[in-house]
Symmetry: C2
Subunit: 263 residues, 2 copies
């Protein structure tokens, strides 16, 4: 069991209740990373489902839970022959932190009937950038959990040279060796710096809601995260992330609606 | 009040309950259209919210409700200064038909800070195709509610000439004159023939879940629906639809996960 597996463990208390312990090692400043929190929720949902994989997850982020004990309350709304529908609530101190709807199913490994291979072509990893370690006082503990190599233009904002477009792209793997699985993918879809940083925005960009789809089980090795957005308007932006595995398959698609930071 | 406004009316019974009457005029064969059902749900959600617009909606389609009376049960999970989170359940005969999470806010009309104008360029409407009226026995009553003009290659499947890619594109407006609003957009994001028809699949392609984001309030006039998909695998496909208004603004983005028909 890796540290990530441990940090996302959900211990069954009864049919609908799971105890979890939110790990301070997944912080991005004050709050814990939303992808990490979704992984915790999904452990409970999948444990309570007759199916193996969270094929679709939507989470509303109501509050930022603190590190420490919390509960996931799962309600199975309907289980059919190939698909089950669940509602899951992450609760801390009796208060809802995250509300989710999750569709579970069991994915096979058949060859796709159709796969769009078109997409952004990343430079090779050796031409991509590792970012400097964050200052300890910034409490970006998440960074030490992941290894990322960034497509250089998309981190130009670090040196005052944003590209002017919402975009963020990187190779990704866990720092502790671990093959990617659906829980790692939940982390990955929310692991990039906000795409709006490349468009010149700065500061905390809170996710309001995030939907992601698991499309295939990822092969071992590096994942490639391709993040972009279509519109920044009225303080809102969309962030789309595609996750490709080392075998060149699209394994996850996400879209989040978030607020532009004021920082 | 248009017929669509009437068909989507939600009458407040108490703080959390709305009576609705599902209109047989929105059928696609046996079932009612998912976009129409979302519009009904959203009427109740917005009525119960302090904010005006459903900026994000995720619906799980558990069952196909019949035309006739039903209820929407809304629970407001959290209302903040700029955003409210709701859960809404469409219930018929005591059984959940559709489960939704909705984020509401009030959108302004400021100029976007960034807008990606890149996208598929449609041929002019006069080069696009109106489809023949469906046979009455097919019970495609929805078709008479909408006017659509299709990008010719994306309806080649009708004559046995699918393009080989998941795609579906059309101009769209209501048959009864009505300016588009968020409820019309809920209909629009699920109005195209399934994108997999262009990839050679046929038959009923049930939506499992659908998430759509309202990005701006649409200008009067035709909407343009650009539908595509990335992967058809293991009986699952994604359908992404962008909705552009007559002023060239991206007004809605949707993604649904659906099952390939066996027909």
């Amino acid at each position: 069991m890796t540290k990530f597996d441990e940090a996302t463990q959900a211990i069954r208390v009864d049919e609908s209740t799971y105890d979890v312990c939110l790990d301070p090692g997944y912080a991005i400043g004050g709050p814990l990373n939303g992808g990490y929190l979704m992984a915790v929720v999904l452990r409970a949902v999948v444990d309570s489902s007759p199916f193996d994989h969270p094929v679709s997850t939507t989470s509303q982020f109501h509050r930022s839970p603190a590190a420490g004990p919390a509960r996931v309350v799962v309600e199975q709304l309907k289980a059919g022959r190939t698909v089950a529908f669940s509602r899951a609530t992450l609760v801390q101190d009796g208060v809802t932190q995250i509300e989710s709807l999750v569709t579970t199913a069991t994915l096979g490994d058949a060859e796709p009937a159709y796969a769009d291979k078109a997409g952004y072509v990343m430079p090779p990893p050796e031409e991509c950038l590792k970012l400097p370690d964050p200052k300890p006082e910034s409490n970006m503990t998440l960074n030490a959990r992941m290894e990322m190599r960034f497509d250089p233009p998309t981190v130009g904002w670090l040196n005052g040279e944003p590209t002017g477009r919402p975009e963020s792209r990187a190779y990704f793997r866990m720092a502790e060796p671990q093959d990617p699985d659906p829980y790692v993918l939940a982390l990955a879809v929310d692991a990039l710096p906000p795409v709006v940083f490349s468009a010149g925005a700065r500061g905390w960009a809170p996710t309001v809601d995030l939907t992601w789809h698991l499309r295939a089980l990822p092969a071992p090795g590096w994942l490639t995260l391709i993040g972009g957005g279509r519109l920044i308007s009225d303080g809102w932006f969309d962030e789309d992330v595609e996750v490709w595995d080392s075998a060149g398959r699209l394994v996850a698609q996400s879209r989040q609606l978030a607020r532009v930071g004021r920082g």
